[in-house]
Subunit: 417 residues, 2 copies
């Protein structure tokens, strides 16, 4: 029952939520609260007897445990997730995966299990991308999709100009690496995560094996009009080019478009200027994500959104720039790893897809990866009401442990063959 207990006790490492008074978690990457959670992680892995501990250049914490009875040269099997949260997070998205992994280690140790491969537990940095964009800040580097310097220069979403690297240095969590799969290979990566949809809940299943993920594109659009006096410019004059009105029309239109195409879209941020109470907003920037299960539809809807936004901008006399700042193709996890989770679930579980990205959607690019879903409540996530029962938390940790041992056996056979 430890993982759930530690989930609630470590939820003390939280800033006050801007929207709720209790129950949630607000632990943005690189904040004082993140430091406390990281320090807790370090103290736990030391007391569990980690044989090697390092922090890499993007702040991720790696703790190695050598339960191996045989070849120390076999790359470790990893269990990882993240301790950071969004600003208005629930307590499970992220922490369940890390604290559940620690529980598996504790259990293996208590039972004196000897594995074929060593075990590594990872707390990945800035999975959420809530304070600094892009998300998956460290696992994306590990998977060779970005560089350490690009990750360190991830920009603050609030426009304050800060970077992830500065924030990590500020809390003393920039290490020396290794940073990539090539520098520190792992045999596989397993991750528990709360399901952020209702598949398990509706079917009455406590756990699930995650077969794949839907695709995600993130776009930034900037609309540029003309500066003008808020009080005095007539509204029917040709030269009133109000970027905020234009952007608002686009927001309404892309929502309709996603709905009618069975996709999902969310505008996750808006900023405009000039600052003040007496000016037409001459520039407005919006960021939105578009999700779809099918790659072709994801692309087609995205193109249609861009076309309609451009048409709307032209109607309003605005210039528009658009950039796709992140893209994740829909995909499938490794069957050999998924099978290990499936066998661990048994008939308490079922197959499910995740609707978002995780550190595992990065590691799966370089090594066998699979995820364990724990049943959520009403699909609620990134919200103080996010919930998984004590029993489901424990069960997901048990499945994680069994999946790792299943994969350890797969590995042993591979090496012995």
């Amino acid at each position: 029952m430890l993982s759930r207990d530690s989930i609630h006790s470590t939820a003390q490492f939280s800033a006050p939520s801007p929207t709720t008074t209790s129950g949630g978690l607000s632990r943005l990457s690189g904040t004082a609260q993140d430091k406390l959670a990281r320090d807790y992680f370090a103290s736990q892995i030391h007391s569990l007897g980690a044989t090697r501990y390092f922090i890499n250049n993007t702040g991720s914490q790696f703790a190695l445990f050598d339960f191996s009875a045989s070849m120390p040269s076999v790359p470790p099997i990893a269990m990882g997730s993240h301790l950071d949260s969004v600003e208005t997070g629930g307590r499970f998205d992220g922490p369940l995966g890390v604290l559940g992994a620690l529980e598996v280690v504790r259990s293996l140790k208590e039972q004196g299990v000897r594995t074929f491969a060593p075990i590594v537990v990872i707390n990945w940095t800035n999975e959420e991308g809530a304070r600094f964009f892009p998300p998956l800040g460290s696992s994306v580097v590990y998977a060779g999709q970005s560089s350490v310097s690009a990750a360190q220069e991830s920009k603050a979403n609030d426009g304050s100009g800060g970077t992830l690297g500065e924030a990590l240095r500020g809390i003393g969590y920039v290490g020396d690496g290794p940073n990539t799969f090539e520098e520190f290979p792992i045999s596989a990566h397993f991750e528990i995560h709360v399901e952020q949809a209702r598949t398990l809940e509706k079917a009455g299943k406590s756990v699930g094996w995650v077969t794949g993920w839907q695709g995600i594109s993130v776009f930034e659009m900037v609309f540029r009009g003309e500066d003008g006096h808020a009080n005095t410019y007539a509204m029917d004059e040709v030269h009133r080019r109000d970027s905020l009105v234009g952007a608002s029309k686009v927001i309404v239109e892309i929502e309709r478009l996603a709905l009618s195409n069975n996709g999902i879209t969310t505008v996750t941020g808006i900023r405009s200027g000039p600052v003040g109470s007496c000016n037409i907003q001459s520039w407005t920037k919006i960021t939105f994500c578009l999700m779809h299960q099918e790659s072709s539809k994801l692309f087609a809807i995205g193109e249609e959104m861009k076309a309609r936004a451009l048409a709307q901008a032209k109607l309003g006399g605005l210039e528009m720039e658009v950039e796709r700042v992140m893209h994740l193709e829909p995909g499938e996890f490794w069957p050999e790893a998924v099978d290990c989770v499936k066998r661990a679930c048994g008939d308490r579980g079922m197959a499910a897809k995740t609707l978002t990205a995780h550190d595992s959607t990065m590691t799966t690019l370089v090594c066998p990866t699979a995820m364990v879903f724990a049943r959520g409540k009403e699909g609620i996530s990134h919200c103080a009401q996010e919930w998984t029962s004590k029993e489901d938390c424990a069960e997901s940790a048990e499945v994680l442990g069994k999946a790792v041992l299943n994969y350890d056996e797969v590995l042993r056979k591979k090496y012995e063959a």
Copy 2:
């Protein structure tokens, strides 16, 4: 020709504009650039032989000139405007009124004119309200409509949490008063301002006498929905309560409403949260102003906007709070003061109304007040392209001087009667 020359030479006291590379003015209240302009003002009035100079508690600069041949107990006639600008300002809105007043003083001095009343030149603080809300930051206190402490606590529009008082202290421009008309009465207030509409331009007139102003209401609306994951929440679920989509629909709707009612509305700011790239925006705040020539229409359209926004919010499952944070009834300047400007204009001028608020719309609450319009270009204002020709600048200053002398004569007769 000095006022126009000094307008362009003092435009060096400007931050880089966020939207243009040349021609404009970015001199937000309480910034380093504002300090430079204030220092320039102080050096000018000293070299012109000001007999008394003070800075009040809201940072306004008052420079007294005693050209009076008679009763020193007559309250001075004021000429004032503001040296601050919006973030993307033109060079004329504000500075023309202050630098034109300095030119009048120079001219009176050179010609050895003896007036009945002393003269005071005022640089009012934070007229624009661009960096700190509300606008008319110091004249509103002078007119007894607000307090020194409320003005000093004017909040930063960018949400940074700073106040006008802190900014003024930061540049060394918080004085000891006097702050109000009662503490420092004036006989009248005259102000040159660039017209921010096309009345003069269309009629081929270089100057104008301003008879009154249209009404302005400023509203803040906050929409509150629910936190949720940007990627995973289905769009057709009842619990997706996206405050930014709701606010966008309201923005589009209030624009239509103002247009169809012959009013003007502008949404001057939007902020939303939580911060990040992976959350539904659970709160969104918009600020907008509504303008109309008629008081009853201004009120009625405002009520209709609130009702429609509330209906839209309910449709989206949102809570809504609305507050009218500023209100200015449409009104007329004092006929006895307007007449002095009208006579000064002669047939080069015409009557016009201003579409926005000025420091004069505050002083007119406590003493005879009138304004001189200088012809603008295409109604453009709060924009780098704002423009008044060298000749029209000079003419407006000439009219200001004559209007003050006209009023001085009115005053002499009043006192002698």
